[in-house]
């Protein structure tokens, strides 16, 4: 396996640290004029999502991690695993709940997600930034309240709960930003 020296560390590089795959977030070269050179590195542990800050001696190296991001279509959940397919090769991958994590509440069949593979197996799933989902439960809509502020919780078809304006009804489809959980608007009917 290849290894990278501190001067090759840059944002997005995938390396192994303490046995876990990590993605480099930031690499700062620190050198007192008359002192030794160090690299102060921020890394995201791809298993836990935690960000570590670690100081290396300049010139130290880390092994590369066999980590790849792939666009994949979400197929279905069989109760235990979430199934994804690579659109070009039709190759299928199953991800467990731990890998899917919080993304689960945004997964709609046929949506294209980013699946991070580690040694060929799904390690993490990132949903599309914007998803269109149906409201399956919410309090009755208040007519004539379109201009006023105020909102209410609505449960979506995937189980996510988001805040929506008061006038929305069960059965309507809306657009949501998965990064913030924010309601963006009614989905266009087409």
């Amino acid at each position: 396996m290849a290894s990278y020296s501190t001067n090759e560390f840059k944002g997005g590089l995938k390396v192994m640290l303490d046995g876990d795959p990590c993605s480099i977030v930031e690499n700062e070269f620190v050198k007192p004029g008359k002192g030794q050179a160090f690299n102060r590195v921020k890394l995201r542990n791809l298993k836990t999502g935690r960000v570590w800050e670690r100081t290396f001696r300049s010139g130290e190296s880390l092994e590369s991690a066999d980590v790849m991001d792939r666009d994949m279509e979400y197929l279905y959940n069989d109760g235990e695993f979430f199934h994804f397919m690579e659109p070009e090769t039709f190759e299928q991958h199953q991800a467990d709940e731990k890998a899917v994590g919080d993304a689960a509440k945004w997964l709609k069949e046929q949506d294209v997600c980013v699946v991070t593979l580690y040694n060929g197996a799904p390690l993490a799933v990132t949903p599309p930034n914007h998803v269109i989902l149906e409201i399956t439960d919410t309090d009755p809509g208040l007519r004539g309240d379109t201009a006023q502020g105020g909102n209410k919780p609505a449960t979506l078809s995937t189980g996510a709960v988001v805040k929506v304006p008061l006038f929305l009804e069960i059965g309507e489809t809306i657009k949501v930003d998965t990064r913030t959980g924010e309601y963006l608007g009614r989905a266009k009917e087409d």
Partner: protein, 317 residues
């Protein structure tokens, strides 16, 4: 990005600021009767500094080295009787690249005959407050700074105590090899970023980090290097010495540096024996300081990375 690599990375306005900054520096020294000197930037001798690497060039088939500072040339001129003088120009250090480093950079270095480190620190404070319009200048001993920030005496604490202090504030991928490595880590990672606003001058460094400064006992009877550093806004800007003038001691330090470099598998190049000869002939008592002009410009422009003040940093040079 890739389609405009011919362009400068720095805004033109910052490059215009560079021009006025260089003119202001020259005016400052001209008013004080300190003369601008040129010294070789391509030399047959290299630095011996354990932590600074020279860039090697080929000159007529023989190795030549790009100067890592104008120090040797200026000191030979001082020994020849030149008097107060400075250099403002390029210096080169191999492998130094990052947010505050470019392997080719602009350095200001000056010497004052008959002065000691404390007298020169005052002048560094004057230059910086004038150029940066900062009035707040504070000075601390290296020990006071460590006591204040980490509650540890950098001169007397054992290696074990220093390692424990490092472990409290930092996560390392390696085991520190000695006291100096611990001190470097604490200074650069913890103290420097927390020094706060204004100009900070730090003096009386550990004797083991003397470089080319003389070593004397401080008020507690602990041998310290008569070396100082200037920091502004958590950034290291300048490093100065009450200069060593003792030729045999200079030779011992060159040889010790070479020993260290050999032991650490670093390139070993010929050291400047003509500096030892100059000291033998008699270099006047003096103090000298080197200052990073690109970083000074970063502060003047409010830039956070060095490529914002250099037209063509190494990736585009």
């Amino acid at each position: 990005m890739s389609d405009s690599v011919w362009r400068p990375t720095a805004p033109l306005e910052n490059l215009r600021r560079r021009a006025t900054l260089l003119a202001d520096i020259r005016r400052f020294f001209s008013e004080r009767q300190v003369l601008e000197m040129e010294v070789p930037i391509l030399s047959r001798r290299a630095t011996s500094d354990p932590h600074i690497d020279s860039i090697v060039a080929d000159c007529s088939g023989d190795a030549a080295y790009l100067a890592t500072s104008p120090e040797f040339g200026l000191k030979r001129l001082l020994a020849a009787g030149m008097g107060d003088c400075y250099y403002l120009g390029k210096a080169f250090r191999n492998g130094e690249a990052g947010g505050r480093h470019n392997p080719e950079f602009t350095m200001l270095e000056w010497y004052r005959v008959g002065w000691d480190d404390h007298r020169l620190m005052i002048e560094v404070g004057e230059l910086l407050s004038w150029l940066l319009r900062i009035s707040k200048v504070r000075s601390y001993s290296y020990r006071a700074l460590f006591l204040q920030h980490l509650d540890v005496d950098p001169h007397r604490a054992s290696f074990e105590e220093l390692k424990a202090t490092v472990a409290k504030v930092l996560e390392l991928s390696f085991e520190p090899a000695g006291r100096d490595e611990c001190l470097d880590l604490l200074m650069s990672h913890h103290i420097e970023p927390n020094m706060g606003e204004g100009i900070s001058l730090v003096y009386d460094f550990p004797a083991t980090q003397a470089a080319l400064a003389r070593v004397e006992d401080d008020e507690l009877g602990v041998p310290v290097a008569r070396r100082f550093e200037a920091y502004v806004g958590g950034m290291e800007l300048a490093n100065g010495y009450w200069e060593l003038t003792d030729a045999p001691e200079q030779l011992r330090r060159f040889e010790a540096d070479h020993c260290y470099r050999e032991g650490n598998h670093k390139p070993v190049h010929p050291f400047e024996e003509r500096l030892v000869q100059a000291l033998e002939a008699g270099m006047p008592e003096c103090a000298g300081v080197a200052l990073g002009v690109d970083r000074l410009l970063m502060l003047a422009c409010g830039a956070s990375r060095i490529e914002e003040v250099i037209a063509f940093p190494i990736e585009r040079a």
